[in-house]
Amino acid sequence: MAKYIIRRILVSAFVLFGLIVITFTLTRIIPTDPAAKWVGPRATAEQIAAARIKLGLDEPVFVQFGKYITDILHGDLGYSLVSHKPVTEELLQYLPATLELIIVGTFLGVIIGIPLGLYSAKNKNSWFDHICRFFSVGAVSLPSFWIALMLQLIFYGWLGWLPVGSRVSLQVGLMYDLPDITGLLLLDSLITGNMVIFKDALRHIILPAIPLAMFPIGYSARMTRSALLEILNEDYIIAARSYGLKERLILWVYAFKNSLGPTVTVLTMTVATLLVGTFLIEVIFSWPGMGRYIGNAILSFDFPAIMGVTLLTGLSYTVFNLIADILMVLDPRIRL
């Protein structure tokens, strides 16, 4: 097992190295000159030349690549071409908001999706099962950015039930000092016991979290349903039934436990989708996270910022994947 884990870590390292090669290559084939972008549209030729030296663009490619890797290993992702601030600094500022949104979205997805799948597998071919299957195909076919706009229109525009934009209301933000322990506002306000902020933050996160949760709901319902259907035909379930065990006990204890296998797959897939899905959602809800950051960076051709987000997202996903794979080995049925 130790051998497997070491191998798995090496693979992750290879993947991250590949990602760095890709982003480096991409930043070198950009049609516009980063140095010209750095100094702005009215710069003189000397200023551009000075910027080129400052950004290290005058050196040979291999030297640049070496520097690029050393910088990344030191946590330096370069400077934003627009704000001239270190990209790492800006990203760390935006990361918690995105993380919070992804966690809430994943949580919603799993907590709704798995029971849906369970219930529809139990009542196979009932009307509930049909609706549920239809819904789960619908949920993975929805453009999340569209459902986000529609929710905003209905619950904010027409009904006025829920707020949109940013993580807390302006008043709450002005009246209280927002706690900053982990950066996850919901968690921090709970830790400090400030229920006003907690409630307000919760109201703000509902609308952006729903469109993000749609894909995991549909996906996990589908996976749970098919996993459970297979299990319910296994011999040990039939044996349990013939012993006269209660159907509920069989479903929730005997079958459900073994249907959790694909949950790991579901979670990795969910995180992969949400990490990028949040790019679209944050733009719509002015959520101060990495998605809005990359959205703005795309519009202003701020390549270090775009590559910074790409690297950080790729890194998070690789690490997450690594943990998921190692956890999977802990399942005694998987022998290596």
Partner: protein, 298 residues
Amino acid sequence: MTESIQLIKQIIKPKLKELRLSIYLLTRNTLTRISLIILLVLILIAVFAPQIAPYPTHLLLENNPTDKLMPPSSQYFFGTDELGRDIFSRILYGARLSLEASVYVVGFALVIGTILGAIAGTIGKLVDEIIMRITDLFMSFPPLLLTIAITAVLGPSLKNAQFAIILTWWPWYARLARGQAISLRERQFIKAAEAIGTPTYKIILSHIIPNCISPIIVQASMDMGTVILALAGLGFLGLGAQPPIPEWGLMISTSRNYFMNAWWYSAFPGLAILITVMTLNLLGDGLREILDPKTRKL
């Protein structure tokens, strides 16, 4: 002459029978049947968009200031946008654009992936190792992440978005084809072809690829919907089609400035995406169900 016709008939007959059986199985499931019909309608819309659209001139930069942001009515079924263009006509053109674009993307990814995968699986050793490590790399990241970075660098346009998706998509087909090729390689007819000295490229082209294509086709049919969603998402981020092209994602993106007072502007393009993608997904599900011997019921 008649003999050869007989021969052809003999070859074609079982294939025809199989095809008829597949169509029968496909249309037996109500949901699959409905989605098949919707897909046919969508294809017809895509082909005849210029003939069906009530306002074909509203496709691009036509400006009708008097009819700005009109709600749906008998004149404009889906209302009008901020330039007074008929949203219904634009959505019809959008169908053509989206279907065409996704067919190209899936087609190219499939061809590149299948060829590279078949080469990797058949030749093995170092070639296999190199190709598979590259696919590992692309498959280790969230699907749209690299696509976004690549399109952002190449410059936002529909062509570049398509190119970027192809670039990040072929590994999935390569994987599938390689798996098939590896199991085929040990089969007797491949061994026989090798024994009589058939060159490797010929074995790959005429024996390996034709025999590993069917699971790849199923995968491709299931990917169509995902690619349409991806293209719409890129359009929404401003990385895909550029105005005034009537691309669905782009239309929703522009509608963000107006949708609070003009719900129809965002609602209808989104519905169009939802219906198209859902149809393709349901159809893909149906296809998989009848081709998978486990779930196939006669």
